[in-house]
Protein backbone atom coordinates (compact mmCIF):
# COMPACT_ATOMS: atom_id res chain seq x y z
CA UNK A 1 0.00 0.00 0.00
CA UNK A 2 1.29 3.45 -0.92
CA UNK A 3 -0.95 5.47 1.36
CA UNK A 4 -2.54 4.02 4.45
CA UNK A 5 -4.46 5.61 7.28
CA UNK A 6 -6.20 4.15 10.27
CA UNK A 7 -8.82 5.99 12.27
CA UNK A 8 -7.28 9.38 11.59
CA UNK A 9 -8.70 12.16 13.78
CA UNK A 10 -7.83 15.84 13.86
CA UNK A 11 -9.41 18.19 16.36
CA UNK A 12 -8.47 21.84 16.07
CA UNK A 13 -8.44 24.33 18.91
CA UNK A 14 -11.94 25.16 20.04
CA UNK A 15 -12.98 21.51 19.71
CA UNK A 16 -13.50 21.68 15.96
CA UNK A 17 -13.43 18.16 14.57
CA UNK A 18 -12.02 18.52 11.06
CA UNK A 19 -11.24 14.85 10.48
CA UNK A 20 -13.32 12.27 12.29
CA UNK A 21 -11.97 8.77 11.91
CA UNK A 22 -10.71 8.35 8.38
CA UNK A 23 -9.38 5.05 7.03
CA UNK A 24 -7.52 4.92 3.75
CA UNK A 25 -5.83 2.33 1.59
CA UNK A 26 -4.41 3.53 -1.71
CA UNK A 27 -2.40 1.24 -3.93
CA UNK A 28 0.66 2.02 -6.01
CA UNK A 29 -0.10 3.85 -9.24
CA UNK A 30 -3.68 4.59 -8.28
CA UNK A 31 -5.42 7.95 -8.66
CA UNK A 32 -7.55 8.37 -5.60
CA UNK A 33 -9.93 11.27 -5.14
CA UNK A 34 -11.45 12.87 -2.10
CA UNK A 35 -14.72 14.41 -3.14
CA UNK A 36 -16.57 16.66 -0.76
CA UNK A 37 -17.74 20.19 -0.04
CA UNK A 38 -15.64 22.92 1.54
CA UNK A 39 -14.84 22.23 5.14
CA UNK A 40 -15.35 18.49 4.76
CA UNK A 41 -11.84 17.75 6.02
CA UNK A 42 -10.10 17.17 2.69
CA UNK A 43 -7.27 19.66 3.10
CA UNK A 44 -6.72 18.71 6.74
CA UNK A 45 -6.30 15.07 5.71
CA UNK A 46 -3.81 16.06 3.03
CA UNK A 47 -1.87 18.16 5.54
CA UNK A 48 -1.63 15.21 7.91
CA UNK A 49 -0.53 12.86 5.14
CA UNK A 50 2.13 15.33 3.98
CA UNK A 51 3.56 15.83 7.52
CA UNK A 52 2.40 19.45 7.75
CA UNK A 53 0.00 18.69 10.59
CA UNK A 54 0.09 16.15 13.38
CA UNK A 55 -3.07 14.07 13.80
CA UNK A 56 -4.83 14.23 17.17
CA UNK A 57 -5.06 10.44 17.05
CA UNK A 58 -4.75 7.59 14.58
CA UNK A 59 -1.88 6.68 12.31
CA UNK A 60 -0.95 7.26 8.70
CA UNK A 61 1.81 5.76 6.59
CA UNK A 62 3.24 6.58 3.20
CA UNK A 63 4.85 3.53 1.63
CA UNK A 64 5.03 1.99 5.09
CA UNK A 65 6.65 5.02 6.75
CA UNK A 66 4.87 6.77 9.59
CA UNK A 67 4.02 10.41 8.84
CA UNK A 68 4.72 11.48 12.42
CA UNK A 69 7.69 9.34 13.42
CA UNK A 70 9.46 9.25 10.07
CA UNK A 71 8.68 12.74 8.76
CA UNK A 72 11.99 13.27 7.04
CA UNK A 73 11.80 10.01 5.07
CA UNK A 74 8.18 10.59 4.15
CA UNK A 75 9.01 14.08 2.85
CA UNK A 76 11.57 12.62 0.46
CA UNK A 77 9.03 10.55 -1.44
CA UNK A 78 6.01 12.83 -1.50
CA UNK A 79 5.15 15.84 -3.61
CA UNK A 80 2.50 18.38 -2.70
CA UNK A 81 0.72 20.91 -4.82
CA UNK A 82 -1.10 22.98 -2.20
CA UNK A 83 -4.45 24.60 -2.72
CA UNK A 84 -2.97 28.09 -2.70
CA UNK A 85 -0.22 29.05 -5.08
CA UNK A 86 3.20 28.37 -3.67
CA UNK A 87 5.75 29.42 -6.27
CA UNK A 88 8.04 32.39 -5.74
CA UNK A 89 6.95 35.36 -7.84
CA UNK A 90 10.32 37.09 -7.67
CA UNK A 91 12.15 34.16 -9.22
CA UNK A 92 12.10 32.94 -12.80
CA UNK A 93 10.22 29.77 -13.68
CA UNK A 94 13.40 27.75 -14.08
CA UNK A 95 14.87 29.17 -10.86
CA UNK A 96 11.84 28.00 -8.91
CA UNK A 97 12.31 24.48 -10.21
CA UNK A 98 16.07 24.41 -9.66
CA UNK A 99 15.71 25.67 -6.11
CA UNK A 100 13.07 23.06 -5.46
CA UNK A 101 15.40 20.37 -6.85
CA UNK A 102 18.14 21.59 -4.56
CA UNK A 103 15.95 20.85 -1.53
CA UNK A 104 16.09 17.21 -2.48
CA UNK A 105 19.81 17.16 -3.09
CA UNK A 106 19.48 16.76 -6.86
CA UNK A 107 22.64 17.71 -8.79
CA UNK A 108 22.46 20.90 -10.81
CA UNK A 109 22.78 19.44 -14.32
CA UNK A 110 20.37 16.65 -13.44
CA UNK A 111 17.93 19.21 -12.01
CA UNK A 112 18.05 21.29 -15.18
CA UNK A 113 17.43 18.30 -17.42
CA UNK A 114 14.50 17.21 -15.27
CA UNK A 115 13.12 20.76 -15.13
CA UNK A 116 13.18 21.13 -18.92
CA UNK A 117 11.40 17.82 -19.27
CA UNK A 118 8.63 18.86 -16.89
CA UNK A 119 8.34 22.33 -18.44
CA UNK A 120 7.77 20.66 -21.81
CA UNK A 121 5.19 18.38 -20.29
CA UNK A 122 2.99 21.31 -19.21
CA UNK A 123 3.86 23.55 -22.19
CA UNK A 124 5.79 26.09 -20.15
CA UNK A 125 9.21 25.66 -21.71
CA UNK A 126 8.91 28.92 -23.67
CA UNK A 127 8.32 30.86 -20.44
CA UNK A 128 11.06 29.27 -18.35
CA UNK A 129 13.26 32.37 -18.20
CA UNK A 130 10.46 34.75 -17.36
CA UNK A 131 9.73 35.94 -13.85
CA UNK A 132 6.77 34.15 -12.34
CA UNK A 133 5.22 37.54 -11.59
CA UNK A 134 4.58 37.85 -15.36
CA UNK A 135 2.75 34.48 -15.53
CA UNK A 136 -1.01 34.14 -15.89
CA UNK A 137 -3.01 32.29 -13.24
CA UNK A 138 -3.08 29.11 -15.29
CA UNK A 139 0.67 29.23 -15.95
CA UNK A 140 1.37 29.64 -12.24
CA UNK A 141 -0.80 26.69 -11.42
CA UNK A 142 1.05 24.57 -13.98
CA UNK A 143 4.41 25.63 -12.58
CA UNK A 144 3.09 24.78 -9.14
CA UNK A 145 2.09 21.36 -10.41
CA UNK A 146 5.53 20.49 -11.78
CA UNK A 147 7.32 22.02 -8.76
CA UNK A 148 5.81 19.18 -6.79
CA UNK A 149 7.26 16.67 -9.27
CA UNK A 150 10.87 17.70 -9.77
CA UNK A 151 12.17 15.11 -7.29
CA UNK A 152 10.14 12.28 -8.85
CA UNK A 153 7.96 11.61 -5.82
CA UNK A 154 6.23 8.29 -5.42
CA UNK A 155 3.02 9.94 -4.26
CA UNK A 156 1.74 13.28 -5.47
CA UNK A 157 -0.87 15.15 -3.44
CA UNK A 158 -2.99 17.60 -5.39
CA UNK A 159 -5.16 19.75 -3.18
CA UNK A 160 -7.95 21.25 -5.30
CA UNK A 161 -5.73 21.42 -8.40
CA UNK A 162 -8.19 23.35 -10.55
CA UNK A 163 -9.83 25.60 -7.97
CA UNK A 164 -10.47 29.03 -9.42
CA UNK A 165 -9.35 28.18 -12.95
CA UNK A 166 -11.55 28.88 -15.95
CA UNK A 167 -13.16 25.97 -17.76
CA UNK A 168 -10.63 25.86 -20.56
CA UNK A 169 -7.60 25.93 -18.26
CA UNK A 170 -9.24 23.33 -16.07
CA UNK A 171 -9.65 20.90 -18.96
CA UNK A 172 -5.98 21.37 -19.83
CA UNK A 173 -4.94 20.74 -16.23
CA UNK A 174 -6.84 17.46 -16.38
CA UNK A 175 -4.98 16.50 -19.51
CA UNK A 176 -1.68 17.25 -17.79
CA UNK A 177 -2.61 15.20 -14.75
CA UNK A 178 -3.64 12.29 -16.96
CA UNK A 179 -0.36 12.61 -18.82
CA UNK A 180 1.55 12.50 -15.52
CA UNK A 181 -0.02 9.24 -14.60
CA UNK A 182 0.58 7.78 -18.03
CA UNK A 183 4.19 8.97 -18.34
CA UNK A 184 5.40 8.66 -14.76
CA UNK A 185 3.08 6.08 -13.26
CA UNK A 186 2.98 7.77 -9.88
CA UNK A 187 0.32 7.45 -7.23
CA UNK A 188 -1.87 10.54 -7.10
CA UNK A 189 -4.13 11.72 -4.29
CA UNK A 190 -6.55 14.43 -5.41
CA UNK A 191 -9.00 16.44 -3.38
CA UNK A 192 -11.75 18.23 -5.21
CA UNK A 193 -15.25 19.47 -4.91
CA UNK A 194 -15.82 19.30 -8.64
CA UNK A 195 -17.75 16.15 -9.43
CA UNK A 196 -16.72 16.23 -13.05
CA UNK A 197 -13.08 16.32 -12.04
CA UNK A 198 -13.34 13.34 -9.72
CA UNK A 199 -15.34 11.41 -12.31
CA UNK A 200 -12.84 12.03 -15.07
CA UNK A 201 -9.55 11.57 -13.25
CA UNK A 202 -9.97 9.13 -10.40
CA UNK A 203 -9.74 5.38 -10.30
CA UNK A 204 -11.37 5.41 -6.92
CA UNK A 205 -13.29 8.06 -5.04
CA UNK A 206 -14.02 8.56 -1.38
CA UNK A 207 -16.96 10.82 -0.69
CA UNK A 208 -16.13 12.83 2.37
CA UNK A 209 -18.47 14.92 4.46
CA UNK A 210 -17.97 16.38 7.93
CA UNK A 211 -14.66 14.62 8.40
CA UNK A 212 -15.89 11.13 7.53
CA UNK A 213 -15.73 9.00 4.42
CA UNK A 214 -19.39 8.29 3.62
CA UNK A 215 -18.74 5.86 0.79
CA UNK A 216 -15.82 4.71 -1.31
CA UNK A 217 -15.48 3.01 -4.68
CA UNK A 218 -14.89 3.30 -8.42
CA UNK A 219 -16.92 6.08 -10.05
CA UNK A 220 -18.99 3.64 -12.13
CA UNK A 221 -19.53 1.42 -9.12
CA UNK A 222 -20.77 4.33 -7.07
CA UNK A 223 -23.09 5.49 -9.81
CA UNK A 224 -24.49 1.99 -10.19
CA UNK A 225 -24.96 1.68 -6.46
CA UNK A 226 -27.32 4.63 -6.49
CA UNK A 227 -29.71 2.74 -8.73
CA UNK A 228 -32.15 5.57 -9.11
CA UNK A 229 -32.57 8.72 -11.14
CA UNK A 230 -33.18 12.21 -9.89
CA UNK A 231 -36.20 14.02 -11.32
CA UNK A 232 -36.70 17.76 -11.32
CA UNK A 233 -40.18 19.17 -11.98
CA UNK A 234 -40.71 22.89 -12.35
CA UNK A 235 -44.25 24.05 -11.62
CA UNK A 236 -45.95 27.24 -10.48
CA UNK A 237 -47.11 25.52 -7.35
CA UNK A 238 -45.16 22.31 -6.77
CA UNK A 239 -46.60 21.64 -3.31
CA UNK A 240 -49.69 19.55 -4.34
CA UNK A 241 -47.49 17.41 -6.60
CA UNK A 242 -46.00 15.77 -3.57
CA UNK A 243 -49.21 13.80 -3.07
CA UNK A 244 -48.62 11.76 -6.23
CA UNK A 245 -45.03 10.72 -5.62
CA UNK A 246 -45.50 7.12 -4.61
CA UNK A 247 -42.26 5.31 -3.85
CA UNK A 248 -40.11 8.40 -4.34
CA UNK A 249 -37.31 9.26 -1.93
CA UNK A 250 -35.44 12.47 -1.05
CA UNK A 251 -38.50 14.53 -1.93
CA UNK A 252 -37.83 18.22 -1.56
CA UNK A 253 -38.99 21.53 -2.99
CA UNK A 254 -36.02 23.66 -3.97
CA UNK A 255 -35.91 27.42 -3.81
CA UNK A 256 -36.84 28.05 -7.45
CA UNK A 257 -40.17 26.17 -7.22
CA UNK A 258 -38.58 22.99 -8.48
CA UNK A 259 -39.64 19.71 -6.99
CA UNK A 260 -36.83 17.23 -6.67
CA UNK A 261 -37.08 13.53 -5.93
CA UNK A 262 -35.31 10.26 -6.58
CA UNK A 263 -36.93 7.20 -8.11
CA UNK A 264 -36.00 3.87 -9.64
CA UNK A 265 -36.96 3.13 -13.26
CA UNK A 266 -37.83 6.71 -14.05
CA UNK A 267 -38.66 5.81 -17.68
CA UNK A 268 -41.73 3.90 -16.56
CA UNK A 269 -42.54 6.06 -13.58
CA UNK A 270 -42.73 9.41 -15.36
CA UNK A 271 -45.55 8.70 -17.88
CA UNK A 272 -47.58 7.25 -15.08
CA UNK A 273 -46.98 10.27 -12.90
CA UNK A 274 -47.72 12.73 -15.69
CA UNK A 275 -51.06 11.09 -16.32
CA UNK A 276 -52.01 11.49 -12.66
CA UNK A 277 -50.89 15.09 -12.64
CA UNK A 278 -52.89 16.01 -15.75
CA UNK A 279 -55.97 14.38 -14.35
CA UNK A 280 -55.59 16.47 -11.21
CA UNK A 281 -55.31 19.54 -13.46
CA UNK A 282 -51.89 20.67 -12.28
CA UNK A 283 -49.71 22.53 -14.77
CA UNK A 284 -46.11 21.43 -15.14
CA UNK A 285 -43.63 23.67 -16.92
CA UNK A 286 -40.57 21.54 -17.20
CA UNK A 287 -39.35 18.07 -16.32
CA UNK A 288 -35.80 16.87 -16.37
CA UNK A 289 -34.35 13.49 -15.57
CA UNK A 290 -30.86 13.09 -14.28
CA UNK A 291 -29.35 9.68 -14.76
CA UNK A 292 -26.98 8.48 -12.00
CA UNK A 293 -23.92 10.66 -11.69
CA UNK A 294 -21.61 11.51 -8.85
CA UNK A 295 -24.10 14.27 -8.07
CA UNK A 296 -26.70 11.68 -7.26
CA UNK A 297 -24.16 9.59 -5.39
CA UNK A 298 -23.32 12.54 -3.23
CA UNK A 299 -26.99 13.27 -2.66
CA UNK A 300 -27.66 9.69 -1.66
CA UNK A 301 -24.88 9.38 0.87
CA UNK A 302 -25.00 12.82 2.42
CA UNK A 303 -28.65 13.77 1.85
CA UNK A 304 -27.45 17.07 0.40
CA UNK A 305 -26.56 18.38 -2.99
CA UNK A 306 -22.98 19.20 -3.71
CA UNK A 307 -23.96 22.45 -5.44
CA UNK A 308 -25.59 23.82 -2.36
CA UNK A 309 -22.13 23.79 -0.84
CA UNK A 310 -20.45 25.77 -3.58
CA UNK A 311 -20.54 28.76 -1.41
CA UNK A 312 -19.42 32.31 -1.46
CA UNK A 313 -16.44 31.24 0.58
CA UNK A 314 -15.20 29.47 -2.50
CA UNK A 315 -15.39 32.53 -4.68
CA UNK A 316 -13.75 34.65 -2.01
CA UNK A 317 -10.93 32.19 -1.62
CA UNK A 318 -10.22 32.30 -5.32
CA UNK A 319 -10.31 36.08 -5.37
CA UNK A 320 -7.94 36.22 -2.45
CA UNK A 321 -5.52 33.81 -4.03
CA UNK A 322 -5.48 35.80 -7.25
CA UNK A 323 -5.04 39.07 -5.43
CA UNK A 324 -2.13 37.74 -3.42
CA UNK A 325 -0.48 36.37 -6.50
CA UNK A 326 -0.23 39.83 -7.97
Amino acid sequence: MMVEAENLVKIYKGNIKAVDGIDLKIGKGEIYGFLGPNGAGKTTTVKILTTLLKPTSGTARINGMDVVKEQERVRRIIGLVPQDLSVDDDLKGIENLELQANFYGIRKDEARRKAYELLELVDLYHAKDRYVSTYSGGMRKRLDLISGLIHEPEVLFLDEPTLGLDVQTRTRMWEYIERLRKDLGITIFITTHYLEEADRLCDRIGIIDRGRIMVEGRPEELKRSVGFDVIYILADDPEPLKRYLEGAVNVEILEDRTLRFSIKNSEEYIPDLLQKIYQAGIKVKRISIQKPSLDTVFLKYTGREMREEESREDVMRTMRSIRRAR
Binding site: T51, D88, L99, Q100, F103
Partner: protein
Protein backbone atom coordinates in the same frame (compact mmCIF):
# COMPACT_ATOMS: atom_id res chain seq x y z
CA UNK B 1 24.78 23.18 3.78
CA UNK B 2 22.67 22.70 0.60
CA UNK B 3 19.33 24.25 1.43
CA UNK B 4 20.82 26.84 3.81
CA UNK B 5 23.02 28.18 1.04
CA UNK B 6 20.47 28.01 -1.77
CA UNK B 7 17.78 29.69 0.32
CA UNK B 8 20.24 32.44 1.25
CA UNK B 9 20.95 32.98 -2.44
CA UNK B 10 17.20 33.14 -3.04
CA UNK B 11 16.89 35.93 -0.47
CA UNK B 12 19.76 37.88 -1.98
CA UNK B 13 18.37 37.50 -5.51
CA UNK B 14 15.05 38.88 -4.35
CA UNK B 15 16.87 41.77 -2.67
CA UNK B 16 19.03 42.73 -5.65
CA UNK B 17 16.13 42.42 -8.08
CA UNK B 18 14.17 45.00 -6.17
CA UNK B 19 16.37 48.11 -6.42
CA UNK B 20 13.66 50.34 -5.00
CA UNK B 21 13.80 48.35 -1.81
CA UNK B 22 17.59 48.57 -1.66
CA UNK B 23 17.46 52.29 -2.30
CA UNK B 24 14.95 52.91 0.48
CA UNK B 25 16.85 50.86 3.04
CA UNK B 26 19.95 52.90 2.20
CA UNK B 27 18.40 56.32 2.00
CA UNK B 28 16.82 56.04 5.42
CA UNK B 29 20.05 55.83 7.48
CA UNK B 30 21.56 58.55 5.29
CA UNK B 31 18.64 60.79 6.21
CA UNK B 32 19.27 59.90 9.81
CA UNK B 33 22.91 60.88 9.86
CA UNK B 34 22.41 64.00 7.77
CA UNK B 35 19.20 65.32 9.31
CA UNK B 36 19.36 63.93 12.80
CA UNK B 37 23.10 64.44 12.94
CA UNK B 38 22.72 68.13 12.12
CA UNK B 39 19.47 68.95 13.91
CA UNK B 40 20.21 67.13 17.16
CA UNK B 41 23.83 68.05 17.35
CA UNK B 42 24.08 67.77 21.13
CA UNK B 43 27.75 68.69 21.16
CA UNK B 44 26.60 72.26 20.56
CA UNK B 45 24.67 72.31 23.83
CA UNK B 46 27.86 72.13 25.87
CA UNK B 47 28.94 75.75 26.49
CA UNK B 48 32.45 76.67 25.37
CA UNK B 49 33.11 78.48 28.71
CA UNK B 50 33.66 75.20 30.56
CA UNK B 51 37.15 75.00 32.03
CA UNK B 52 39.46 72.86 29.98
CA UNK B 53 37.58 73.79 26.82
CA UNK B 54 34.56 72.13 25.26
CA UNK B 55 36.56 70.14 22.75
CA UNK B 56 38.20 68.07 25.48
CA UNK B 57 34.89 67.31 27.17
CA UNK B 58 33.32 66.42 23.86
CA UNK B 59 36.28 64.18 23.19
CA UNK B 60 35.75 62.25 26.44
CA UNK B 61 31.97 62.28 26.45
CA UNK B 62 31.68 61.39 22.79
CA UNK B 63 34.48 58.85 22.71
CA UNK B 64 36.85 60.92 20.63
CA UNK B 65 34.33 62.12 18.08
CA UNK B 66 35.19 65.46 16.50
CA UNK B 67 31.53 66.24 15.78
CA UNK B 68 28.13 64.71 16.39
CA UNK B 69 27.91 63.01 12.97
CA UNK B 70 31.16 61.19 13.79
CA UNK B 71 29.59 60.01 17.03
CA UNK B 72 26.29 59.13 15.40
CA UNK B 73 27.58 57.19 12.37
CA UNK B 74 28.84 54.11 14.24
CA UNK B 75 25.52 54.08 16.11
CA UNK B 76 23.63 54.28 12.82
CA UNK B 77 25.62 51.32 11.50
CA UNK B 78 24.31 49.31 14.43
CA UNK B 79 20.75 50.59 13.96
CA UNK B 80 20.88 49.65 10.31
CA UNK B 81 21.78 46.08 11.20
CA UNK B 82 18.73 46.13 13.48
CA UNK B 83 16.42 47.33 10.69
CA UNK B 84 17.77 44.76 8.28
CA UNK B 85 17.10 42.07 10.89
CA UNK B 86 13.50 43.22 11.26
CA UNK B 87 12.95 42.94 7.53
CA UNK B 88 14.27 39.41 7.60
CA UNK B 89 11.67 38.52 10.22
CA UNK B 90 9.06 40.05 8.00
CA UNK B 91 10.09 37.91 5.05
CA UNK B 92 9.20 34.73 6.95
CA UNK B 93 5.64 36.03 7.21
CA UNK B 94 5.61 36.91 3.52
CA UNK B 95 6.74 33.38 2.71
CA UNK B 96 3.87 32.10 4.78
CA UNK B 97 1.33 34.42 3.18
CA UNK B 98 2.44 33.60 -0.34
CA UNK B 99 2.35 29.88 0.32
CA UNK B 100 6.07 29.40 -0.16
CA UNK B 101 6.55 28.28 3.42
CA UNK B 102 4.28 25.28 2.75
CA UNK B 103 6.61 24.27 -0.05
CA UNK B 104 9.58 24.53 2.30
CA UNK B 105 7.92 22.66 5.15
CA UNK B 106 6.85 19.75 2.98
CA UNK B 107 10.36 19.20 1.63
CA UNK B 108 13.06 17.31 3.54
CA UNK B 109 15.23 20.36 4.25
CA UNK B 110 16.39 20.98 7.82
CA UNK B 111 13.91 23.35 9.47
CA UNK B 112 16.71 25.60 10.67
CA UNK B 113 17.66 26.34 7.05
CA UNK B 114 14.45 28.35 6.71
CA UNK B 115 15.54 30.66 9.54
CA UNK B 116 19.29 30.58 8.98
CA UNK B 117 18.89 31.65 5.35
CA UNK B 118 17.14 34.77 6.64
CA UNK B 119 19.92 35.32 9.17
CA UNK B 120 22.73 34.92 6.63
CA UNK B 121 21.09 37.07 3.97
CA UNK B 122 20.21 39.77 6.46
CA UNK B 123 23.84 39.86 7.60
CA UNK B 124 25.14 40.19 4.06
CA UNK B 125 22.63 42.97 3.40
CA UNK B 126 23.72 44.75 6.57
CA UNK B 127 27.38 44.56 5.49
CA UNK B 128 26.64 46.00 2.05
CA UNK B 129 24.46 48.75 3.48
CA UNK B 130 26.98 49.70 6.15
CA UNK B 131 29.78 49.91 3.60
CA UNK B 132 27.77 52.37 1.54
CA UNK B 133 26.67 54.34 4.58
CA UNK B 134 30.23 54.43 5.89
CA UNK B 135 31.56 55.84 2.61
CA UNK B 136 28.79 58.43 2.35
CA UNK B 137 29.35 59.55 5.96
CA UNK B 138 33.00 60.20 5.16
CA UNK B 139 32.20 61.99 1.91
CA UNK B 140 29.66 64.50 3.21
CA UNK B 141 31.12 67.87 4.24
CA UNK B 142 31.97 68.04 7.94
CA UNK B 143 30.82 64.43 8.18
CA UNK B 144 32.54 61.45 9.75
CA UNK B 145 36.15 62.01 10.86
CA UNK B 146 37.74 58.59 11.19
CA UNK B 147 40.80 58.09 13.35
CA UNK B 148 44.11 58.72 11.63
CA UNK B 149 45.30 55.23 12.56
CA UNK B 150 42.27 53.49 11.01
CA UNK B 151 43.54 50.46 9.07
CA UNK B 152 42.37 47.31 7.34
CA UNK B 153 42.20 45.34 10.61
CA UNK B 154 39.94 47.96 12.11
CA UNK B 155 37.73 47.72 9.01
CA UNK B 156 37.52 43.93 9.35
CA UNK B 157 36.67 44.49 13.01
CA UNK B 158 33.87 46.85 11.98
CA UNK B 159 32.37 44.27 9.62
CA UNK B 160 32.71 41.55 12.24
CA UNK B 161 30.83 43.59 14.84
CA UNK B 162 28.05 44.48 12.40
CA UNK B 163 27.75 40.80 11.46
CA UNK B 164 27.55 39.73 15.09
CA UNK B 165 24.79 42.20 15.81
CA UNK B 166 22.91 41.31 12.64
CA UNK B 167 23.07 37.56 13.30
CA UNK B 168 21.76 38.03 16.82
CA UNK B 169 18.85 40.28 15.95
CA UNK B 170 17.73 38.59 12.74
CA UNK B 171 17.77 35.27 14.60
CA UNK B 172 15.78 36.84 17.42
CA UNK B 173 13.13 38.37 15.15
CA UNK B 174 12.81 35.19 13.10
CA UNK B 175 12.11 33.20 16.24
CA UNK B 176 9.56 35.73 17.40
CA UNK B 177 7.59 35.57 14.14
CA UNK B 178 7.84 31.84 13.61
CA UNK B 179 4.18 31.36 14.49
CA UNK B 180 2.91 34.82 13.67
CA UNK B 181 0.49 34.61 10.77
CA UNK B 182 -0.55 38.22 10.33
CA UNK B 183 1.58 41.06 9.04
CA UNK B 184 -0.23 43.42 11.42
CA UNK B 185 0.94 41.44 14.44
CA UNK B 186 4.54 41.68 13.30
CA UNK B 187 4.23 45.41 12.68
CA UNK B 188 2.97 45.83 16.24
CA UNK B 189 5.84 43.76 17.61
CA UNK B 190 8.41 45.65 15.53
CA UNK B 191 7.05 49.00 16.63
CA UNK B 192 7.01 47.88 20.22
CA UNK B 193 10.65 46.75 20.19
CA UNK B 194 12.08 49.25 17.75
CA UNK B 195 11.89 52.39 19.84
CA UNK B 196 13.21 51.07 23.17
CA UNK B 197 16.00 49.15 21.43
CA UNK B 198 17.11 52.29 19.61
CA UNK B 199 16.76 54.88 22.37
CA UNK B 200 17.74 52.72 25.33
CA UNK B 201 21.12 52.32 23.73
CA UNK B 202 24.21 54.41 23.17
CA UNK B 203 23.60 54.46 19.41
CA UNK B 204 22.56 58.11 19.43
CA UNK B 205 23.54 59.54 22.79
CA UNK B 206 26.47 58.88 25.09
CA UNK B 207 25.46 57.01 28.23
CA UNK B 208 26.98 59.69 30.47
CA UNK B 209 24.20 62.13 29.67
CA UNK B 210 21.49 59.52 30.36
CA UNK B 211 19.61 59.20 33.66
CA UNK B 212 20.93 56.34 35.78
CA UNK B 213 18.05 53.94 35.14
CA UNK B 214 18.38 54.37 31.37
CA UNK B 215 22.13 54.04 31.57
CA UNK B 216 21.61 50.70 33.33
CA UNK B 217 19.26 49.43 30.64
CA UNK B 218 21.49 50.70 27.84
CA UNK B 219 24.46 48.81 29.21
CA UNK B 220 22.59 45.52 28.62
CA UNK B 221 21.49 46.43 25.11
CA UNK B 222 23.41 44.61 22.34
CA UNK B 223 23.07 47.75 20.22
CA UNK B 224 25.14 49.64 22.81
CA UNK B 225 27.80 46.94 22.78
CA UNK B 226 28.01 47.16 19.01
CA UNK B 227 27.83 50.98 18.84
CA UNK B 228 30.55 51.41 21.47
CA UNK B 229 32.89 48.87 19.90
CA UNK B 230 32.40 50.44 16.49
CA UNK B 231 33.34 53.81 17.98
CA UNK B 232 36.54 52.47 19.48
CA UNK B 233 37.54 51.11 16.09
CA UNK B 234 36.37 53.93 13.86
CA UNK B 235 37.05 56.98 16.05
CA UNK B 236 40.05 55.84 18.07
CA UNK B 237 41.44 52.88 16.18
CA UNK B 238 42.11 51.24 19.51
CA UNK B 239 41.61 47.59 20.45
CA UNK B 240 41.17 48.10 24.19
CA UNK B 241 39.80 45.77 26.85
CA UNK B 242 36.34 47.40 26.85
CA UNK B 243 36.11 46.64 23.14
CA UNK B 244 36.99 43.00 23.73
CA UNK B 245 34.45 42.74 26.56
CA UNK B 246 31.70 44.14 24.32
CA UNK B 247 32.62 41.74 21.52
CA UNK B 248 32.54 38.88 24.03
CA UNK B 249 29.02 39.94 25.09
CA UNK B 250 27.94 40.00 21.46
CA UNK B 251 29.37 36.51 20.94
CA UNK B 252 27.45 35.18 23.94
CA UNK B 253 24.27 36.89 22.68
CA UNK B 254 24.72 35.25 19.27
CA UNK B 255 25.48 31.83 20.73
CA UNK B 256 22.25 31.88 22.75
CA UNK B 257 20.20 33.09 19.78
CA UNK B 258 21.66 30.52 17.36
CA UNK B 259 20.96 27.75 19.82
CA UNK B 260 17.40 29.03 20.18
CA UNK B 261 17.05 29.16 16.39
CA UNK B 262 17.89 25.47 16.12
CA UNK B 263 15.54 24.44 18.89
CA UNK B 264 12.63 26.71 18.00
CA UNK B 265 12.77 26.02 14.27
CA UNK B 266 12.92 22.30 14.86
CA UNK B 267 9.80 22.21 17.02
CA UNK B 268 8.14 25.54 16.41
CA UNK B 269 7.19 25.60 12.73
CA UNK B 270 3.64 24.77 11.90
CA UNK B 271 1.45 25.15 8.90
Amino acid sequence: MGARLSLTIRELKKWIRNPANLFITLIQPIFWIVLFGSAFDITKIIPPSIPGGSSMIIGTLFMGAKNYISFLTPGMLAIMALFSAMFSGMSIIWDRRFGYLTRLLVSPIPRDSIVLSKVFSSTIKAIVQSTILFIIAILIPNGLYISSSFNIYDLIGVFAIISLLSIGFSGLFSIIVIRVKKMETLMAIVNLLNLPLMFASTAMFPSDIMPDWLKGIASYNPISWAANSLRYLILQGSWNSTLFTDIAYLLIFDAIIILAVFVVSKYGFEE
